[in-house]
């Protein structure tokens, strides 16, 4: 692909690749601003810039990830997604075949999710000014009446649920990027969670918190919530699902699965009496097949997440400041 300032080449690119894979009635309106019938309820809006290396990885690619990530951000507000937008920043020279693969994957993810890309934009930057392709997706959705999700609703005694095994995405990306071949291929868990969330919200409208433990993993998500609410959390390590191959990869890499990113998991915090109902709803979906109750909210120590370890000790689940510098040695 060559660097263009709009014009005919760009129009052809959009038509041949994006419109072909992402076609839907909203996008086909051909407007810069697409009109959507929102029905009643509050509007939820989100946006996410996706930069990832490698662009293709076991279990997905940047295209499907861009769709899932934004749908999940809407879902975590309890919203029913209506539409997405997508903006592509493409580095000059990026292979068209790869772009086609990404757009196709996006189209597939949208169709599976039942949520269209309503409008989009494409820019090409000079060689060396990008890293293949960046995708920014925004999403709009509607939050049903009676749903009010947020950390200020956290109370001591509430149950902490997790929709399935952690660490798959981060390890899949890392092993692909660094060429680390573990015995079994570890696949990203990238998936759209909004359908499962819709059923969860329908079953228990009073869910206190939904979060997708993406960057920083489960520990960052829970520490952030504990800090925001001024409460503590108590986890049970044995209850937290981790695939054996992910656990052993983490062991070698010296990483804690609790700190590793996920792209198709959610944490749900709810009243204790709703926990079993929600677990049943989650387990009825393929994305929540291995859902588990992993702990509960405590009065304190405020802002700390503690965990009963597999050998029965109590450890503080830490929140690392990004760099992942070892503290102890």
């Amino acid at each position: 692909m060559s660097h263009g300032g709009g014009g005919r080449a760009m129009a052809r690119l959009i038509r041949d690749i994006f419109l072909r894979h992402l076609a839907n009635p909203l996008l086909d309106q051909g407007h810069d601003a697409t009109r959507i019938d929102a029905g009643s309820g509050r509007i939820a809006v989100t946006t996410d810039a996706h930069v990832i290396s490698p662009l293709f990885f076991p279990g997905g690619d940047i295209g499907s990830l861009a769709v899932h990530g934004t749908l999940n951000d809407l879902a975590m507000a309890g919203a029913r997604p209506l539409a997405l937008t997508a903006a592509f920043i493409i580095e000059e020279g990026f292979p068209l075949a790869d772009l086609d693969r990404i757009a196709a994957s996006m189209g597939r993810a949208c169709r599976e999710a039942g949520v269209p890309v309503a409008t989009g934009d494409t820019k090409v930057v000079e060689r060396g000014k990008g890293d293949g392709v960046f995708i920014t997706t925004s999403g709009v959705g509607v939050v049903p009446e009676g749903v009010d999700i947020g950390p200020r609703r956290l109370r001591a005694g509430q149950a902490i649920l997790l929709s399935g095994p952690i660490g798959d995405h981060g390890i899949a990306i890392l092993s692909k990027r660094q060429g680390l071949e573990f015995g079994t291929e570890i696949r990203s868990d990238s998936a759209a969670l909004h359908r499962m969330v819709a059923d969860m919200v329908a079953a228990v409208p009073g869910i206190a918190v939904l979060r997708d433990p993406t960057r920083g993993g489960l520990s960052a998500t829970l520490n952030e919530l504990a800090g925001a609410a001024g409460l503590g959390m108590q986890l049970d390590e044995r209850a937290i699902p981790v695939r054996p191959e992910v656990a052993s990869a983490c062991e070698l890499l010296g990483l804690d699965p609790l700190n590793v990113a996920n792209e198709g998991k959610l944490v749900c915090i709810c009243e204790g009496e709703d926990a079993e109902t929600l677990l049943a709803v989650m387990r009825a979906h393929v994305e929540g097949r291995d859902a588990a109750r992993i702990g509960h909210v405590t009065v304190g120590p405020a802002g700390f997440v503690c965990m009963t370890t597999a050998i029965g000790g109590q450890r503080v689940v830490d929140w690392l400041s990004g760099e992942q510098l070892p503290r102890i040695c």
Partner: protein, 773 residues
């Protein structure tokens, strides 16, 4: 009245640890004996005495005040001035003036000789009673909940004194005058055994029988529970290891007497003094080659044993029923903090103990046993807790008048430090903060110490590492108190801790000194991980003038647990991708099935392999090369300690390995020549002990050569700090070699060289770095 006409008055000020230790009754008794008149009182600065008598008697009085001071007192200074006014009739103890007095709290102290004598005197009313104590001994910090230090603010509040105890408590002539935890069988704590023995069986007899039969007994002590078993019973020792899930960490031992310790270990005068001191620490002692046999499982790979003597009446009564030493290890699972509460002991030690010897005096504050060794006849403290905390450490000159500073310490072996008015109060060893119970203790102790010492910080000093829990807590605390937050470099703090601990004042140690700081890792000033550092400067600031060549930590903290990772990283660093061609026999020491190829790939791609100039990991790598715990270590420094023990007998007969001094500014110590020589030695079948010795000497030689290269000269102060300095060979070799080039090595005295002493350095640096308002 002729005598009284010649009387003069004096005002005597006594400074030091003179409150809560029976100093006023000591003054009173002495004045009574010498027929002096006057009064004695506590005040904000210590003890003040107004006394009248003839000049010669007063001189004698002063001399004896000092010489015969009570066992727990520490007299730092005494000044006398003439005092006008008429002599009162008699000598009185004046009640403390409310408000200004800072009685503080003294450390827990081992049962004194007088109380021991009572314990075994059938005529005494405390004969056989497990909880007797007096002004000179007994629990202190472990039972206090608030100031002032009165019985009502201790765990003894639950035990109202009987008339006999109350009379002793009120009598200045009695050894128990104002002894807050005093007790007797009529009014004090009770002892029992669970499960209960047959009716009528004494709980101590039953516990002793169980121990003799190879059982494991949980024993409630001063600062926490212990797990005890017969140290001579190999089966019991192995069973205790199995139940504790503790494969190799040495067990502490308790012997009845110094003489009994001497049957197993070599003792010098310093070690004897330590064993019998009121602090009664665990003393690490070299095993006697001809010593009485003990099971190998007590301290695998170690040439030292850790012994302590009984320090409570309960210990004395139990040991008197046995005929050999007991294992006395902390009552916990694996590496958790020891339990302190009866309920926790029942729950957490279920399955570990066969019986529980418990009592109803609560342990309010956990205090682990302190661990001390000796070097060249002087004590070297390895873990500072029971018996030492919270004794204030006097700081050298130059630290007066600085803002009150709270230093939060490190992450492992955490302690914190309150610094004020030229004194530093270092908390007891609390443990690894990632352990939730230790973190709880840390927060509770912080509250307690701030209350006991009425302390509000103007400065909070934390480590530069953003992810230490102590850093997070310190930042929050600084916000709460409106204090300044100061981030202190890890190795600078180590160096400053050593300088301050060694009594180097601000004027002398401000700049121009060197620091040799060797540890596992800490965050350096350039944002990378440091751990084998030569720093130049002092309290006012340091420059990194030399360091160990940085080598990848393959898998971050996983490199600490698995020494083989460091071996691969070191060899790959020394020889490049073709390292296997050089490795020879070492390859056989890589653990079977170890994912070496994947680890190499991690190293190639820089996947969680941050470079670190760690000294600790270098020791691990060399240990792994010799087949010493290559796969995994169960406790910190396990491989390095085994390597040290291996090296010790061979130091005399070997040459140091060569080390490359490269770089320039800073000078970088590279280990490729060392590895080449080591691998050649292995190839020729040289013994692991001699190789270990050559390595130790090589490290010491390289460090000293590097210090000389960067400008250390005649009289230069070189501070030796960091956890690796707990290696006695390295410490000793560095000291003698530094003296050999005319330098003046200084070492830790009162605080550990490892991160347990870090807070002291953070405190002095934090106070200096915070601009005065």
């Amino acid at each position: 009245m002729t005598a009284a006409d010649a009387w003069v008055g004096r005002r005597i000020r006594v400074r030091g640890l003179v409150q809560g230790v029976g100093f006023r009754p000591h003054v009173w008794r002495l004045a009574q004996a010498l027929n002096l008149a006057g009064s004695v009182a506590n005040d904000g600065e210590g003890v003040v005495i107004h006394v009248w008598g003839d000049a010669a008697t007063l001189d004698g009085f002063q001399a004896r005040l000092w010489r015969e001071a009570p066992p727990l007192a520490r007299v730092d200074g005494m000044e006398a001035a003439p005092h006008d006014g008429p002599a009162p009739g008699g000598f009185t103890i004046t009640a403390s003036a409310a408000g200004r007095v800072r009685t503080g709290v003294v450390p827990d102290a081992a049962t004194c000789p007088a109380c021991q004598a009572e314990l075994f005197d059938p005529a005494d009313r405390r004969h056989g009673y497990a909880f007797g104590n007096c002004t000179h001994c007994g629990p202190r910090l472990s039972i206090v909940s608030a100031i002032p230090y009165d019985r009502a603010n201790t765990a003894m509040a639950a035990f109202p004194m009987c008339p006999a105890c109350a009379a002793e408590y009120a009598d200045p002539a009695d050894r128990r005058f104002h002894a807050q935890p005093t007790a007797c069988p009529a009014c004090g704590p009770r002892l029992w055994l669970e499960p209960a023995p047959d009716a009528g069986t004494d709980p101590l007899d039953a516990a002793a029988a169980l121990l003799r039969a190879g059982g494991i007994v949980a024993l409630k002590g001063i600062g926490g529970f212990h797990l005890a078993c017969d140290a001579a019973n190999a089966g019991a020792v192995m069973e205790l290891r199995r139940r504790k899930a503790r494969d190799a960490k040495p067990f502490a031992l308790m012997a009845r007497s110094v003489e009994e310790v001497g049957r197993y270990c070599r003792l010098d005068a310093a070690a004897r003094d330590l064993l019998t001191s009121p602090a009664a620490p665990i003393v690490l002692l070299p095993r006697r080659p001809d010593g009485a046999p003990l099971p190998d499982g007590l301290a695998p790979d170690q040439d030292h044993l850790g012994f302590m003597l009984p320090y409570t009446p309960l210990h004395h009564l139990l040991m008197a029923r046995l005929d050999g030493p007991l294992v006395m290890t902390s009552g916990n699972r694996s590496d958790e903090p020891q339990v302190t509460a009866n309920g926790d002991a029942r729950d957490r030690l279920a399955g570990l103990a066969d019986a529980w010897l418990m009592h109803d005096r609560a342990i309010l504050n956990r205090l682990d046993d302190s661990v001390v060794t000796t070097s060249a006849g002087a004590p070297v403290i390895l873990r500072r807790a029971r018996g030492y905390a919270p004794v204030p450490l006097p700081l050298p000159s130059g630290f007066e008048g600085l803002p009150p500073t709270l230093a939060m310490g490190g992450e492992l072996k955490a302690t914190f430090c309150l610094m004020r008015e030229g004194q530093a109060i270092l908390s007891q060893h609390i443990g690894d903060l990632e352990d939730a119970a230790a973190l709880d203790d840390y927060r509770a102790m912080l509250r307690l110490y701030r209350d006991l010492f009425d302390f509000t910080p103007a400065v909070v000093a934390v480590d530069a590492h953003p992810d230490y829990l102590s850093t997070t807590l310190g930042a929050a605390l600084a916000r709460e108190c409106g204090a300044r937050l100061v981030r202190v470099g890890h190795h600078h703090a180590h160096m400053a801790a050593c300088l301050a601990d060694a009594g180097i004042g601000l004027a002398e140690g401000g700049e121009g000194a060197f620091g040799l700081v060797l540890d596992g890792l800490g965050l350096g000033a350039d944002g990378t991980l440091w751990g084998g550092e030569i720093l130049q400067g002092g309290y006012r600031g340091v420059a990194r003038v030399g360091h160990i060549a940085p080598v990848a930590l393959a898998g971050g903290a996983a490199a600490m647990r698995e020494p083989w990772r460091n071996l691969v990283a070191q060899l790959r660093h020394a020889f490049g991708a073709a390292w296997r061609d050089h490795a020879g026999a070492v390859l056989a020491h890589l653990p079977p099935g170890a994912p070496v190829a994947l680890l190499e790939r991690m190293l190639e791609t820089g996947t969680n392999t941050p470079p670190c100039s760690s000294a600790g990991r270098l020791f691990d790598a060399v240990a792994a090369a010799l087949g010493v715990h290559p796969a995994r270590i169960g406790h910190e420094a396990q491989a390095a300690m085994a390597l040290e023990a291996l090296a010790r007998p061979h130091l005399g007969g070997v040459q140091p390995y060569p080390v490359a001094l490269g770089g320039g500014d800073p000078v970088v110590m590279g280990w490729a020549p060392m590895w080449r020589a080591l691998l050649a030695d292995l190839a020729t079948g040289e013994s692991p002990g001699r190789i270990a010795a050559r390595f130790h000497l090589g490290v010491a030689e390289a460090l000293v050569a590097a210090v000389a290269r960067v400008g250390a000269s005649q009289g230069t102060v070189v501070a030796l700090s960091g956890g690796v300095l707990q290696n006695a060979i390295i410490l000793g070799e560095l000291q003698s070699r530094l003296r050999g080039i005319g330098c003046r090595p200084v070492t830790h005295r009162q605080v550990p060289a490892n991160d347990g002493g870090l807070a002291l350095g953070q405190a002095v640096l934090g106070a200096l770095m915070a601009p005065t308002a």
